[in-house]
């Protein structure tokens, strides 16, 4: 078996383990979803009862809710490893640390996808946004956004899980880095919803894809150093 196949197998085992754990501790996963929905509800209160205004702000609010809930989600995936010294044990297996990153990022990606898939219709209903004709472009945006957020989120969650004050440090370090992702995802979603009158959707999706690629490579190469003690 080639080294790459072995790495993929290990990454898959880690992602599957995380998924099983998250599904069994079902309350935690569903609480993240509930939190995102709650954020959307509060935005509704903050921006007043004017539905037109809400519909206009919908792309930004959607992605803010996804980012906030995503912070909790990627943080949780590393907290799973704090079960009785599991992270230390994981770091001691004779495996390439990049495989650990890929596995964790994969689990994060799937979690973020679920989050996006649930939040889209919620935004549609709560803010009165017409999603039907925009859904192919929106799906691509959610997939690229989820991948990028998971790519950096996994890295920073791995960094902060062993640091004092991790609850503060994770958002503090992660949010500025995700700014371009937020920006591009919001713009792409807005373009998709408005039927892309200026033909800019493609550019934003390219920017998202570029962010994903760069971050996967750099964070993947750096993650192993985080496990050093």
């Amino acid at each position: 078996m080639t080294a790459l196949a072995a790495e993929a197998r290990i990454a898959w085992a880690i992602a599957r383990k995380d998924a099983v754990s998250e599904l069994r501790g079902r309350s935690a996963a569903s609480m993240t979803l509930f939190f995102a929905a709650l954020v959307l509800l509060l935005f509704g209160f903050a921006l007043g009862p004017d539905t037109r205004k809400l519909a206009e702000a919908a792309p930004g609010l959607l992605w803010l809710a996804i980012v906030f809930a995503g912070l909790l989600a990627v943080g949780r995936l590393h907290l799973l490893e704090t079960d009785d010294g599991a992270l230390e044990q994981l770091a001691l297996y004779p495996i390439d640390r990049r495989a650990i990153y890929v596995g964790k990022a994969l689990a994060g990606f799937v979690t973020m996808l679920v989050l996006g898939a649930v939040m889209l219709p919620v935004v549609g209903i709560m803010y009165g946004v017409e999603l039907a004709r925009a859904w192919p472009a929106l799906s691509v945006t959610v997939v690229l956004g989820a991948l990028g957020f998971s790519a950096v989120g996994t890295f920073y969650a791995g960094l902060t899980v062993r640091v004092r004050a991790r609850e503060v440090m994770l958002p503090l370090l992660l949010l500025p880095v995700t700014a371009p992702l937020l920006l591009a995802a919001v713009k792409a979603s807005a373009a998709a919803l408005s039927g892309d009158p200026f033909g800019e959707l493609g550019s934003w999706l390219q920017l998202l894809a570029g962010f994903d690629l760069v971050m996967l490579l750099v964070a993947g190469a750096s993650y192993g150093f985080l496990l050093e003690e």
Partner: protein
Amino acid sequence: MPLTIYVSPRAAGAVEPQTPAVATVELARLFGRSAALAGVSLRVQAGRTVALLGANGAGKTTLLRILATAIRPSFGTARVDGIDVAERPDQVRGRVAYLSHATGLYDDLTGAENLRFAATLLAVPAPEREERIAETLATIGLTGMAAERVRNFSAGMRKRLALGRVLLASPTLVLLDEPHAALDEAGMQLVDALLAAWREAGITTLVASHALDRLQPFIDGSVRLESGVVAEIAGSGVEPNPEPRGAIGLPVGTGASV
């Protein structure tokens, strides 16, 4: 009790027989302001079983964690089969199996799933994986609990499962940190049997323990640590490391260029 010890084909014969299994030079580790290890120079011969003795905080766990590559030395060097733990930790990891105080188990997975995860990461070949897991469960006496989530396990059962993970590895060096803790009489007998089997198979074993009486029949020698330094060496298989060293506490190796 079925007990098969697997020796890694990678490990067997890859090292010169004269190379000590463990060699440390002035090994030290600081945590904040206190020195957990304050300069330990030891050599453990390959294939021997050696007890690590000493009071709480004497440095036993720190020594084991450095050898397992869980933490890096602050000063000094440590080598496993001639490989420096700070320079090539990836190569050391394939040779070492470590049972720590923390079990490293996932609460929401079942006993069998925890072992399956470990077997995958330890590269137990897929065709024999299920067989090995079943065999291991039988050895540690948890066959009946295999489908139960670890969250519902007692401390002793968790310890057994962690021992099972050590059994799935094919190490040349086994590091055990208080293996008897939390175990009942049957569990301690399991540890006895494992120690005997590893010794029989020629696998070097370092055991940190307070239960010297219990260990006595299974060990070649012992080291007593006190306050982070070697206080006493007894028996065979372990000796002071006469390699050249700096003046006491001077950095060797890892600390090289500050």
